[in-house]
């Protein structure tokens, strides 16, 4: 099967039948190219998804107070619920074993000025733990610390774009800025992978904010991070007991849907991952469809090729070619073509994916890639089916009487 003569015959046949070779090869190459690209783009989509949700920590609960909609323990409905510093302390005390950090967040928009430059920014009054929640990365200076909270310092940590807006190219560190009428000293500049909006925040100690607002002890919302070791089930259990604890403390009916909200990022993440997986499944079905279309295409071409060669087969049989020799040479030729072009299609597909990189980031596709094994398996799959598709008509052609084949015009 693998002597020089056989290959000589095959190369001659390929060389002298360029259109046929091109058609068969093109089908295979295109099939593999589309398959590789499609699978790659799906992976790119998943990359974006993961990155999107990995920007913020996922071991996080957001607690929001609401307004009761059910009367409970003598309290009327429609009562406004508020969090305060004692809630922070209670959570810290009662759930220490689950907790990584707990931080309040009080958001206020404030006109911020430095010399002639001014702009409106969102300030977030927080505790040091907030840094873990947002995965804030310090470029220079430092983040808020416990001393700042205790001393109610007028320190501010500003985003990279805040510095750019207000200071231009100059260093903001240790400068004083006016935030809503109070002067704060810039102690740090941060960056955040979450996008431009995330880099236009200003962080200040929550106790300072409370002091400014007539020494209140209210907080808008509470954010807490649990230890990742407790896992998904542990997080769900923690959420349930936290919910019960706060409802008991604030006299909110356990059935009340509006009194208290807990947003569980881990749960959301899981749902989003499921969404991404469904997308991936749909794309896989399309990719598989492409592959099947490729197989059907190559089968059609093989049928056509063998029909076209019927007379040649008849001549060869009259010259003493055995059916085995006829089938062998046709199959070897088709496998050779599909292998070469399949490999070519695969390489082009990989090159396309590589060249995309982050160019399609706006369309939520980032760094598309395909597992090489998957690409190779798909190619082999197509080659095998191409061979099978060639074998059936080749066998039939080899079986027809030479006299019938010779009459074929």
């Amino acid at each position: 099967m693998f002597n020089r003569d056989t290959w000589g015959e095959i190369f001659l046949s390929i060389k002298k039948n360029k259109l046929r070779t091109f058609l068969a090869g093109f089908t295979v190459a295109l099939g593999i190219l589309i398959f590789v690209t499609l699978v790659g783009l799906t992976n790119g989509l998943r990359n974006t998804f993961e990155e999107f949700f990995n920007d913020d920590a996922t071991n996080t609960f957001f607690l929001f107070p609401g307004r009761t909609s059910l009367p409970y323990k003598g309290y009327k409905s429609n009562r406004i619920i508020e969090f305060d510093n004692s809630d922070l302390a209670d959570i810290e005390k009662n759930f220490a074993m689950f907790l990584e950090y707990v931080t309040p967040r009080i958001s206020r928009s404030a006109l911020t000025k430095y010399k002639e430059e001014s702009n409106n920014y969102n300030t977030r009054a927080v505790a040091p733990g907030h840094q873990f929640n947002e995965k804030t990365i310090m470029m220079k200076g430092r983040y808020l610390n416990e001393r700042d909270i205790e001393d109610k310092t007028k320190y501010a940590v500003i985003g990279r774009l805040v510095e750019q807006d207000l200071f231009g190219n100059k260093n903001a560190l240790d400068k004083y800025i006016d935030i809503g009428g109070s002067v704060f000293k810039v102690i740090g500049v941060f960056q955040d992978d979450g996008g431009d909006n995330e880099e236009r925040y200003i962080y200040i100690p929550y106790t300072t904010r409370q002091l400014i607002e007539k020494n209140t002890d209210e907080v808008d919302q509470i954010i807490l991070g649990f230890k990742p070791e407790i896992g998904y089930a542990g997080a769900m259990a923690f959420q349930a007991s936290l919910d019960k604890f706060l409802r008991d403390k604030k006299y909110i009916s356990p059935e009340d849907p509006n009194g208290l909200f807990i947003r569980n990022v881990a749960d959301q993440l899981k749902q989003n991952q499921q969404f991404a997986n469904v997308l991936a499944i749909i794309a896989s079905i399309f990719a598989l469809g492409t592959l099947i279309a490729g197989i059907i295409g190559i089968s059609n071409i093989m049928v056509f090729v063998i029909k076209e060669r019927t007379k040649e087969i008849g001549i060869r049989k009259a010259m003493g070619a055995t059916p085995k020799a006829v089938i062998g040479s046709i199959l070897l030729e088709s496998v050779f073509i599909t292998t070469i072009f399949g490999y070519l299609g695969m390489l082009v597909g990989l090159a396309v994916l590589n060249s995309i990189g982050i160019k399609l980031e706006d369309y939520f596709i980032k760094n598309p890639y395909i597992n090489t094994t998957v690409a190779v398996i798909a190619t082999v799959f197509l080659i095998l089916f191409g061979a099978l598709a060639g074998y059936i008509p080749a066998r039939r052609a080899a079986k027809i009487k030479p006299i019938v084949a010779l009459r074929d015009e």
């Binding site: 001549i315 060869r316 055995t322 009487k401 006299i403």
Partner: protein
């Protein structure tokens, strides 16, 4: 060399059955040059196809060089064709993407003759039909007579026991026909057994024996005085 006894063949045409050969008895010795004649539909081509193992008889005996030809598998038939028979067709049946040399070498390829030897032998046979200079040309670059000469070279290259020619001059003008017949006569002079199917009287008379077929039976079988084709060839 060839022995046929009570050969029958019929073709199914839908619900009808067409009885083409109705009991043929025929013998050909080594070195004979036999013309099989008959009008179209007389069964002459069918007979040749059965002799050439391209088709199968329904009943009857066929012995070729002492070997009974019966119930052959496709593979066996292919081997016998390769070993015993050379074919020349009316429509030449050259492989159009192969050069003259490659066409002639094809039966040798299936005889598993080594490449070098194959090329040499093919060239030698091309020389014998006077087409050595055309070895690298494709069939499309050759005239009808040249094509048929290539086909004859191809049939001879395998050194068969019997050469079967089905209307070898059917697609050629008379001058070219005589050239081809001249070649066939020369090959016969060297002792090869040749069967020629034709419906042309002048071509038939260039053979040594004429067998007339009509409606599937042999009606006449006579020896004739051979007319040498070289008389007409300049």
């Amino acid at each position: 060399m060839i022995e046929i006894k009570d050969l029958h063949k019929s073709y199914k045409m839908g619900s009808n059955s067409l009885h083409v050969l109705k009991g043929i008895n025929f013998t050909a010795e080594e070195g004979e040059l036999v013309a099989i004649m008959g009008s179209s539909g007389s069964g002459k081509s069918t007979l040749l196809n059965i002799l050439g193992m391209l088709d199968e008889a329904d009943s009857g005996e066929y012995t070729l060089d002492g070997v009974p030809i019966k119930n052959l598998s496709e593979t066996k038939a292919a081997q016998y064709r390769n070993k015993f028979l050379g074919f020349v067709f009316q429509s030449f049946n050259l492989i159009n993407y192969k050069s003259a040399l490659e066409n002639v070498a094809l039966p040798l390829y299936y005889q598993k003759v080594p490449r070098k030897e194959r090329q040499e032998k093919a060239l030698q046979y091309l020389e014998r039909v006077g087409l050595k200079e055309w070895a690298t040309h494709l069939p499309s670059e050759l005239s009808g007579g040249q094509k048929q000469r290539v086909a004859i070279a191809r049939a001879m290259a395998a050194e068969p026991k019997v050469l079967l020619a089905d209307e070898p001059t059917g697609a050629l003008d008379s001058t070219t026909s005589y050239e081809v017949m001249d070649l066939i006569q020369k090959i016969n002079d060297e002792g090869n057994t040749i069967l020629v199917v034709t419906h042309e009287e002048d071509i038939a008379h260039m053979c040594k024996r004429i067998v007339h077929l009509r409606d599937g039976v042999i009606v006449e079988d006579k020896k004739v005085k051979q007319v040498r084709a070289s008389e007409y060839v300049q």
